[in-house]
Symmetry: C2
Subunit: 367 residues, 2 copies
């Protein structure tokens, strides 16, 4: 194998592919990147057996071939090169010769055939979304996935397509984040649970522009095609919770508040909530104002935020993290809270939009 | 005590003072900041008993007093405030009431009298230096201090003033970094060993401008006055090594090389040196070129850097870190290496300047 390519493009491809390299795999070859030039272009691949990433990099392929090279070392070498033209030659014993300017590295690699193949995802089931939109959807949902593995299905995000609507939902037993998007085309019927780890990696690859991502689905795999990068992921198996029945559609108290003011006050209250055991903040919802308090051994905090309230006054307590998590990702200037009693779930929504719903369980506290 | 001050200025003072707060002190009060308004201005103080930092912050002192507040919590609270005017009131039980906009924190503090006093450093022995110059001197020397404590005196930098010259020297048994400055005034005779920790903190406080730092010396303390900040530090006790006798003044090989090219090649060679056990890079000094090589189990690297050499050709090996450490801080475009044999110390200097000398012991290796 012999290729010549541009340092910056090569580094870009390596850094993107590296995201799937697991540091602590028991299979040493998974600490490597597969450089595959068998078909005339350079594809850089990595996998941890759950996720696989493949980047196609512009390169002049002088001689076809493939090799696996240590991911960390290769990345560091390419990053440190001072010139643009990089030549990589692999001999029959999988030794890589990397030349650039007056630098010459010789690195022992492994045969490409030893690297696990990425699964082929061929499917007619396909949707397309602008990158920035998918990025925003992932950001608004994935944080609500369960972290602990006692119910593995909840460590993923349920992605459903039906008619002209896409929805993504995540829940962990304490809160639910649901984002929906209307599109102007008929979508295939899809219902899959995507591991949160996959979405976190996808989030880092997505750019803030409108170029489309294509997503393909099979029964147990999905494929994201983002520009010259392909990400293949397994899906989680099992039945997701039927969340639609837990979202209340009635309420007796409605509060409209400026998102940023509310977030900042909750974050300040969190400083003391964190000192306590349970991260607890208390809200006293009055006609024009929400009073937020929190106390710990070392002291206490009182915050007041101006609101517009309709309905009953109410005292309610929340885990401050679960509240601020949502306030950070809601993109509208004002939000609306819908409440019934201090033991019923509270719903947060952007004002003047139905595309995001966050449901949050209160914490029961003694008066 | 009652004060009103500006959030940004207060935060600035807190962040600077916090640098001396030790996270792991056995004395809980050292996790606090002393806010001292007994004399009509606000001074924020911290100490870990080795270093003490005092910042004077512009504030309207309505009522005099003092208090100790948890450093981390106070910093986080002030950072999160959304408005400028902060009011702090301390009652007779040392409870602090911090008000800003619609936020009101109540934090239990401790009495100011419980905080250890910073030592008074009153001395006629004083020098002044521009901040940016002192910053550069610290950067060029402090990295060469010993890290391990087997010879405590070597964990500090020897600072000497004599006639019209200031010198700072650090050494750890493998290398020596020496920086000298000529000034245009007669200096007091000074010879002290400053803990590297103090200089590292000073480095973070110093700004990149020419405003002067005043440094005062007593027998066992020194005081840096940097704008509205005072830093007091104990000095290390003991005899420093007489380094002047270990700097060779003769050589048989002299190499002139572009600093950045040499640094980048050494850094690339380090990538493989690091994989081996001893961080070793080998230099083969020829007439027009220095060849740099390093090898590890996984592979090897060859680098070539153009040089101008006078004298004998030479093969020599170094710990790559000790070489790159110096190349990173030498500020001239070209450096000069002076060598004799592959077991004699090597001297690095900026070309066309005598103000910096770095001495480096080679590593003996089998041919």
């Amino acid at each position: 194998m012999k290729i010549v390519c541009d340092r910056d493009k090569l580094l870009d491809g390596i850094m993107t592919s590296q995201k799937a390299v697991s540091g602590k795999s028991t299979l040493p070859i998974l600490g490597g990147l597969l450089l595959d030039c068998r078909t005339g272009d350079l594809r850089i691949m990595s996998t941890d057996l759950d996720i696989g990433i493949e980047c196609t990099v512009e390169a002049e392929v002088v001689e076809k071939g493939w090799v696996v090279l240590d991911s960390r070392l290769l990345g560091e070498i390419i990053r440190k090169l001072s010139f643009n033209d990089v030549e990589i030659i692999i001999d029959e014993t999988n030794v890589a010769s990397i030349k650039c300017g007056n630098s010459h590295f010789t690195i022992q690699g492994q045969g490409g055939e030893e690297f696990p193949q990425l699964p082929e995802v061929r499917s007619e089931k396909k949707i397309s979304l602008p990158q920035d939109l998918l990025k925003s959807i992932v950001r608004q949902t994935v944080f609500a996935c369960a972290v602990d593995e006692t119910r593995p299905i909840l460590t993923g995000v349920l992605m459903e397509c039906k008619g002209e609507e896409i929805s993504m939902a995540a829940l962990d037993g304490f809160r639910l984040a649901l984002r929906t998007i209307k599109v102007s085309e008929q979508l295939p019927d899809i219902s899959v649970v995507v591991p949160s780890k996959t979405l976190n990696e996808i989030y880092k690859i997505l750019k803030d522009h409108e170029q489309e991502v294509e997503i393909f689905f099979t029964d147990n795999q999905m494929l994201f095609r983002i520009g010259s990068t392909k990400v293949v992921s397994r899906l989680l198996e099992g039945e997701f919770i039927n969340y639609s029945q837990i979202i209340p559609d009635e309420y007796t108290t409605r509060v409209k508040v400026k998102t940023l003011d509310f977030l900042e006050s909750c974050e300040r209250a969190s400083l003391l909530a964190r000192e306590g055991k349970n991260n607890l903040i208390r809200l006293e919802i009055c006609e024009d104002v929400v009073k937020i308090t929190s106390n710990a051994e070392i002291g206490m905090v009182n915050e007041e935020v101006n609101v517009v309230m309709e309905g009953k006054e109410l005292k309610i307590a929340f885990n401050s993290k679960y509240l601020t998590d949502a306030l950070k990702v809601i993109e509208s200037e004002h939000i609306e809270m819908q409440l019934t009693t201090n033991i019923n779930p509270c719903v947060l929504k952007p004002v003047q939009s139905e595309n995001y719903t966050y449901l949050l369980l209160p914490v029961r506290v003694a008066e």
